[in-house]
């Protein structure tokens, strides 16, 4: 081997393949608008990391986001991004994916955006099974509008609209998506960043609708009101309330913590991808004419 060849390889291993999140961000918009300690930033890094490891070209990525703290994340990504109306990112994404099946369409949405305002869009997106990845950031509150109760707020928690504690039961978004027929359903906490990255990688690579619930923390508006501690305490306590649903691919039950939510890949549902079904139907209709 000649000297230049060795040098080339060394450069390849160290700098070219290494993940540098800075090359995926729009620096002029930083520092971002999220509060100190908001888990959304960690989730954004995990998503960029997954895209980097899948080696998807930036021009082939389309990020669609809704309204809310989560919706704002799209603006910070240096790729094709689309900031849509409240609750509708899945509807916009469906149109985009049907028109441009070559794009990798990823939706970033929040618990209120996805389950309340856009709840109907979610269940129908799951039902159709179009090849979209939906990353729902669940921080249990409407943070941007001042901390109102959301469909995932835990019972007895205080928000600006539940001064006596929340009396409604919360959604389990993953079970909802699974029941509605989503192809790939998973959940992870932000503090497990590399695991979250791997889960997102699987979700993006999956051919069909994939739904990932990311448990994020809202320290300033939700945590403060409910005495959940500062951000490091909050992200750690979130982790302790979860349990991996499988170890090394073996699904396990945890009888000692029945209330712990499972994390990891929760279900897969192999069905025909809607985009293909649709194009085949169109093609055969054209042939018949």
């Amino acid at each position: 081997m000649t000297k230049t060849a060795i040098k080339k390889n060394a450069g390849k291993a160290s700098s070219k393949n290494a993940f540098d999140v800075m090359s995926y961000l729009r620096h002029d918009l930083f520092p971002h608008f999220l509060c100190p300690g908001c888990g959304h930033g960690i989730a954004l890094r995990a998503l960029m990391w997954a895209i980097h490891e899948l080696e998807i070209d930036k021009d082939r990525i389309a990020i669609v986001s809704g309204i809310g703290c989560s919706g704002r994340l799209g603006a910070y990504i240096d790729a094709n991004t689309f900031h849509t109306t409240h609750g509708r990112p899945l509807a916009f994404a469906a149109g985009l994916k049907l028109a441009r099946p070559d794009l990798e369409v990823i939706v970033i949405t929040g618990d209120g955006d996805c389950l309340a305002i856009g709840g109907n869009h979610l269940i129908h997106a799951c039902r159709r099974n179009l090849d979209i990845t939906c990353m729902m950031l669940n921080n249990e509150v409407y943070g941007m509008t001042g901390g109102q109760v959301s469909p995932t707020t835990s019972e007895d928690r205080y928000t600006t609209t539940t001064p006596l504690g929340n009396t409604e039961a919360a959604f389990d978004a993953c079970r909802l998506a699974e029941a509605a027929g989503a192809g790939f359903v998973g959940r992870e906490v932000t503090v497990q960043t590399p695991t979250l990255k791997n889960l997102l990688k699987d979700a993006i690579a999956y051919n069909g609708f994939s739904f990932i619930e990311v448990i994020s923390d809202c320290t300033e508006i939700y945590g403060r009101k409910n005495d959940l501690g500062n951000s490091p305490e909050m992200i750690l306590s979130q982790k302790s309330q979860m349990r991996p649903n499988s170890y090394g691919g073996v699904i396990v039950d945890e009888p000692f913590r029945p209330n712990a939510l499972p994390t990891g890949v929760l279900s897969t549902n192999a069905r025909p991808e809607y985009g293909e079904t649709y194009r085949n139907a169109m093609a055969s209709a054209k042939r018949k004419k």
């Binding site: 930083f30 100190p36 930033g41 960690i42 890094r45 932000t190 503090v191 960043t193 490091p232």
Partner: protein, 309 residues
């Protein structure tokens, strides 16, 4: 020891090692031999966190009559250690001035000895060398039995090499040893174990004839590393942290989550690296900073190529 054939006092053999090495097997072999020779035997054992590499020890006492199953401190006749640090832990249980010390010099480094997680850092394992210990003991043997057994073709035969040395310190006939060992080891490994037994015996005999201290410490040609290190070509010690104070929002996550506690918030409440020597480059601060304010570089090239704002 030959003078003690009419045992008024029991003979005390202490077998020590680390979980999984075969301390119990070795002491069972010994106890069986004693029984077959018509002695009363008492054996008692303690397993530390055996599965996690914790200490295991076994007391074997035999004689005309044995009452207590445990050996009083300072009255051990033979200390047989399968691991070096365990040998040091028990060495003061030997009878002062007359006990026999036999130890494998292999190191099994427990996780809690690895206090400093920096790459290539030295473990907090005992620094005493076999030569230092042997110089303090009248009748001591230290050898890399594991290495010898590896050369024979089966690392697990190391205990049998040590048994071979032990057989020269006790008065039982060689045939009984060979017979009992063949019964205790897995049938497929009888040959190699008997070979190992002979090697141990042979080595001990040559050392007995030789009064030179250095001869009592047998080193193997190639010592396996105690802690297998990372592949040096891929992992360098280089770590460089870039912290962008303009993006840091003082959330404290990196400070609290860094496993080495090497970050702090300064008087402007911006994260700073206060203990660069302790930083292992694990990237946890980089992953968990929600504001993209920290970047960890593991190679000089990456540090140079990094996109900076």
């Amino acid at each position: 020891m030959d003078t003690k054939t009419k045992y008024k006092e029991p003979v005390n053999v202490l077998v020590v090692g680390v979980g999984g090495q075969g301390v119990i097997m070795v002491s069972k072999v010994l106890a069986t031999i004693c029984q077959e020779r018509g002695y009363q035997v008492k054996q008692s054992e303690v397993h530390g966190m055996a599965k996690r590499g914790g200490g295991v020890f076994s007391h074997v006492r035999y004689g005309e009559q044995v009452f207590s199953p445990t050996i009083p401190k300072g009255s051990t006749d033979v200390l047989l250690a399968l691991e070096w640090a365990e040998a040091l832990r028990w060495v003061n249980h030997l009878k002062p001035g007359e006990g026999t010390f036999i130890s494998d010099t292999q190191h099994i480094v427990p996780p809690f000895a690895c206090r400093n997680r920096k790459r290539g850092a030295e473990a907090g394992y005992s620094r005493e060398t076999p030569d230092q210990i042997l110089s303090r003991i009248k009748d001591g043997f230290a050898l890399d039995a594991t290495g010898m057994a590896r050369e024979l073709g089966n690392e697990r035969a190391a205990n049998t090499i040590l048994l071979g040395i032990l057989s020269t310190a006790l008065e039982f006939p060689e045939d009984t040893w060979r017979d009992v060992i063949s019964r205790f080891v897995p049938p497929k490994t009888v040959d190699i174990n008997l070979q190992a037994f002979d090697q141990g015996r042979e080595w001990a005999r040559t050392v007995h004839e030789n009064s030179d201290l250095a001869a009592r410490h047998r080193r193997s040609e190639k010592l396996a590393p105690a802690v297998p290190g990372p592949d040096r070509d891929e992992m360098s010690d280089f770590v460089q942290l870039d912290i962008n104070p303009d993006w840091c929002k003082s959330c404290d996550i990196c400070v609290k989550m860094c496993p080495e506690r090497c970050l702090k918030l300064d008087d402007r409440l911006k994260a700073v690296l206060t203990e660069p020597d302790r930083c292992t480059g694990c990237r946890i601060c980089e992953w968990l900073c929600p504001d993209f304010a920290i970047t960890v570089h593991r190679t000089p090239e990456a540090a140079q190529a990094a996109v900076r704002v």
